[in-house]
């Protein structure tokens, strides 16, 4: 039962990811990404990481992707938006870069299979355990991330400011 559910959800995630890459229409691509994020959230939920699952839906699907779709709707109104890409040659890099990433993923997955002792400490997916780790063991990177986000926000404000 749980296995069957996993394969159904995983298939949805893969199809949605393919849809994101293959659709020419930017809005369709963005909506496929929303479906993909939702499917990944379902996988988190089935693994017992409830907080992660719903935080992913709220933050990525519910907020960030809404802004993406909003921006695409404002900037690219029609279906005939995509002219010839000026940096078409760059696409040749996609294949080796993708292959490299795939190899890396294989190594990571094989390493993780080795045993529970490797990698991050294993805790439950509850809010308390995540909060405990974030505010004790990983406090410094956590605070550093917030500074990074602040810097990005200030940069965006600077870019958006009208030239006087």
């Amino acid at each position: 039962m749980a296995h069957a559910a996993f394969f159904v959800v995983a298939a949805i995630a893969v199809v949605a990811a393919l849809g994101l890459v293959l659709r020419r229409n930017a809005i369709h691509g963005a909506l496929f990404l929303v479906v993909n994020l939702g499917a990944i959230a379902v996988l988190y939920q089935t693994l017992g990481a409830e907080f992660l699952a719903w935080a992913q839906v709220i933050v990525y699907a519910g907020a960030i992707m809404v802004l993406f779709v909003f921006a695409i709707m404002v900037l690219i109104p029609g279906k005939e938006e995509t002219g010839p890409d000026p940096r078409r040659a760059w696409r040749l890099l996609a294949l080796p870069a993708g292959a490299l990433l795939f190899l890396q993923l294989i190594f990571v997955v094989r390493g993780a299979r080795g045993g529970a002792g490797s990698g991050a400490p294993s805790v439950g997916g509850g809010v308390e355990s995540i909060a405990g780790l974030l505010f004790t063991r990983y406090l410094f990177p956590f605070e550093l991330t917030s500074v990074l986000l602040l810097a990005a926000m200030v940069g965006a404000l600077l870019l958006a400011r009208r030239r006087v």
């Binding site: 909506l31 409830e50 907080f51 719903w54 839906v57 709220i58 809404v66 709707m73 109104p77």
Partner: protein
């Protein structure tokens, strides 16, 4: 899983779904009748079956028949799939959002403990919030796929409004989460059963009065209804569902009513004590002035479910009062209220709540 478990799960889901759907359908009637009373009119009373008018209660039925039998029109240049999907996304998100709002305490029948809540989730409050924030996709898809610039503008207004409202909703419920120390809606409601100084129920509206006002305002904005109906503006400006007709249009209207029910349910669960009745403990009433009335378990549970339903209806009534009292905010006014009013105040509320918890220690 035995057949009995399956039946119980089915019953829990069916109760919530029928409650939300029927209440949402009834709201079309409430809206007409309440506005008529407020404006000193008689209101909808023409629909009749064999001469029975029943205070106009047949109007929702007549509406449904009219919507279902109208032509389902689609513009030639519309995106066929997204155009068809959009109203379903809207209704779906509004309908399932209620699932983790508890409508009663645990019911004990024949040795079983049934939590009166469609889905038991440890992070239920995040679930409701996530479903509310996904609802905006239906509106945006409708606006974009209609191949109509007015609809596109309406969809964008809706997206901007709902983002500003949802940020304020998320930030204002944080204070409640901090006070009651849980993301589980059932735990939050249970924690509101305690009494301050032996007589004042520790409801969210007592411990978090500012968050209550902020949440209600942002919640009304999230339902896209007057005074925040800039996305639709059905009377003079043009909204995201301009190209929709028949039942698909009806579904967008229904989604707004369902969201009203969800926001009322959330407000009840977080700020008005959910299913709590003041001074009602599991074995009966225990009054602060010393009296006590013993009640059987089933009656206590019924009282709690009844209290929840009454509170939700009262909240809907208040939201309808606001809807028929205030004129529409201009788009920039709504944005200003969301980003410069509600959001900073909710952050301030979090800070003040944190300081308060530090000073007076522990949780309420």
């Amino acid at each position: 899983m035995s057949a009995a478990d399956l039946g119980i799960a089915f019953g829990r889901v069916a109760f919530v779904m029928l409650f939300v759907l029927n209440l949402g359908g009834l709201l079309t009637w409430v809206e007409r009748k309440q506005s008529a009373i407020m404006q000193d009119r008689i209101g909808a009373n023409r629909a009749s079956i064999f001469g029975f008018r029943l205070l106009g209660l047949f109007h929702p039925l007549a509406d449904a028949i009219k919507m279902l039998t109208k032509e389902d029109f689609r513009p030639a240049r519309a995106d066929p799939f997204l155009f068809g999907l959009a109203p379903f996304v809207s209704v779906f998100c509004a309908l399932v959002a209620f699932a983790s709002i508890p409508f009663g305490d645990v019911l004990r029948v024949a040795g079983r403990e049934i939590p009166l809540q469609a889905v038991t989730l440890n992070v239920g409050i995040l679930y409701v919030f996530a479903m509310l924030s996904l609802g905006v996709y239906g509106v945006m898809m409708a606006g974009w796929s209609s191949a109509n610039n007015f609809a596109l503008l309406g969809g964008q207004r809706a997206a901007a409004l709902m983002i500003s409202a949802e940020i304020a909703i998320g930030a204002s419920i944080m204070g409640v989460v901090m006070i009651y120390g849980s993301l589980n809606m059932m735990d939050i409601v249970r924690a509101q059963g305690r009494l301050f100084w032996g007589w004042l129920p520790a409801w969210g509206i007592v411990t978090q009065p500012l968050a209550f006002v902020l949440f209600l305002t942002a919640g009304i904005a999230a339902t896209k209804r007057i005074p925040f109906d800039t996305p639709e503006g059905e009377s003079e400006i043009i909204g995201y569902f301009i190209e929709y007709s028949g039942m698909k249009f009806g579904m967008f209207a229904m989604a707004d009513f369902l969201e009203t029910v969800v926001i009322a349910g959330m407000t009840t669960a977080l700020f008005l004590g959910g299913w709590q009745v003041p001074y009602l403990v599991p074995d009966g009433f225990r009054f602060p002035w010393g009296g006590a009335v013993a009640l059987p378990h089933l009656l206590v549970t019924l009282l709690q479910v009844g209290a929840f339903v009454v509170k939700v209806c009262a909240m809907i009534f208040v939201m309808m009062l606001i809807r028929w009292t205030l004129p529409r905010f201009r788009y920039d006014q709504a944005m200003r209220l969301g980003w410069l009013g509600l959001f900073p105040l909710s952050i301030l509320n979090i800070v003040v709540t944190g300081i308060g918890l530090l000073l007076w220690g522990g949780r309420a």
